[in-house]
Homo-oligomer: 363 residues x 2
Amino acid sequence: MNRLAKLRQSLADLGLDALFIAHPENRRYLSNFRGSTGWLIISQKSALLAVDFRYVEQAQQEATEFEVVHIKGEPAKWLPELAVNLGARKIGFESNYLPFATYQKLRTVLRNCGIKLTPTDNVVESLRAIKDKEEIDSITAAAALADAAFEHARSIIRPNITEKEVAWEVEKFLRNQGSETVPFDIIVASGPNSALPHARASEKRIRENEPIVIDLGARINGYCSDLTRTIVLGSEDGVFARIYDIVLGAQLTAIATITAGMTGNEADNLARTIIEQAGYGEKFGHGLGHGVGLNPHELPRLSPDSPDVLQDNMVFTIEPGIYIPGWGGIRIEDTVVMQGGKARPLSRSAKIANTTSGGLLTR
Amino acid sequence: MNRLAKLRQSLADLGLDALFIAHPENRRYLSNFRGSTGWLIISQKSALLAVDFRYVEQAQQEATEFEVVHIKGEPAKWLPELAVNLGARKIGFESNYLPFATYQKLRTVLRNCGIKLTPTDNVVESLRAIKDKEEIDSITAAAALADAAFEHARSIIRPNITEKEVAWEVEKFLRNQGSETVPFDIIVASGPNSALPHARASEKRIRENEPIVIDLGARINGYCSDLTRTIVLGSEDGVFARIYDIVLGAQLTAIATITAGMTGNEADNLARTIIEQAGYGEKFGHGLGHGVGLNPHELPRLSPDSPDVLQDNMVFTIEPGIYIPGWGGIRIEDTVVMQGGKARPLSRSAKIANTTSGGLLTR
């Protein structure tokens, strides 16, 4: 069943005559249109792509399953007429995306035409969470490119180089090797900076014997990958060795034991329990992982409050971390795909801490 | 008056006890916090920055005028308690940014505490539209870097190079010269591709005697610039010469005649009238320009439906264009600052069409 057919099944299940879609990746997923502005209106019989002057040509080239409508101005100006022509009485909208002001204007003008505007919750995002073969192939290629980029980072990193220099060299490598932009700012965080889970690459110079967190991703055919490794130049200290073991143990355990049918909360708990029992529960302040696809962060969520059920052909990260203010942090992250009920890593970079030893940590 | 003081004046004018801010650039503008997630709650007496685990350290380092509150989970979980502690009875939110679902959850939990949630419209964006000296200095530096990047593009562009290769070389130049990321994807659009006002750089090879639109920007201290030039390799054809003249005339006229106190609609009309009278009104399908600052597109808008009043110390683009499907397009864009009631260009790249002649078009 193709994407439009699946969406139409969702519409029927929800009792909606049509869905109004504004979210960029939802739009691209359903229509293949890659422009920066446009809206979909999808009913059982019609599939419209509304774009302004700038995108009419591009939309017609890319969105071959859609009828392209040339619109002008904001949705409140043109959606009522399109909706009336579709015969829609009840239209869903993306409640997690559409700004309140847009909703409010649309509600008023649609109500004047006897049409009810109804909030929906992750209708397209839920379809996107289950990948098809082509999508998994793209993410697999993006994961391989992220692996190559990490290997490149390892080859250039040396004492006294700045975090920013490493990040920029890695970005150039990714782009030169075919990544379409980078899906998120590359993190190179050393020493105390690595205690910030979302550090930026700074002007700080990298030194020996401190943790270096490298978090990067590639994008191929629109699809992202996400990879983190933590390394040391020179020799690791005792804190590093102990914490690295805990994080690696938690990560490998989660990969080995996550199974289809678990919730995101249950999956998160597999790693969290290990880190808690080691005495660092308070230092693992983020969720275990997140879906990866057209967005670098999408469904499913793997976190203490996530009810999302993990299923075959979902792609997500597994990335426990421990962060000690003032000292630094360690995070290890793979992108994995669920297949045959188990998580299969797409990331293949070795989990080596010490770059000068050249070997895998065998502890 | 500093930014917080101005915002508090706006709160008083609107009769609000506090403003809840989720928009990333609004957050950065007021607090200096540069992380990717966080919320401000600002009243006459308090200025709170709510961040999760990942950002507590960074927030404390960057947002020195704010009290950092360590929160967990979505706003509906923690905003009521913070709002009650502030004694707020009426809280504004950003209606053009906050998703409907977030609004709906917040409204319910706040109502249970006797607090009213009220939509506001561009409160912070309106402050941001008027730049201070430091902001204008940053944009001036970003404009100079964009000029240098265009010169670099001109120096490397040659028959048979692909649009993508040029765009990537220009991006590397920008980043190597100090641009923090690029504020938008660089456009290099040649021949028929240049008829798409928001074309992507493609694998198409650039040829002689066709229009080449190059649209690029730099980012310095968070502030953007935006520059477009249209050039030809070899010699221009008769269509190019005629259309280039019209667009350049319209652009120079707009720069020369825009004055403080005009609306965005009136400013747009200065250029649009010229293009219409030349017979190409239907081929200028976008607005004349847009504000530039922390966002590459912000207030004021210069377009047929814009009531925004242009004022001193606003920074915006002036970018008329004519687009002929199948043939191509011509756009000429400067970033300008309003000072002493007039527009002063910050972009200085010569408006040269023919790269082999090396001279300014004098027609």
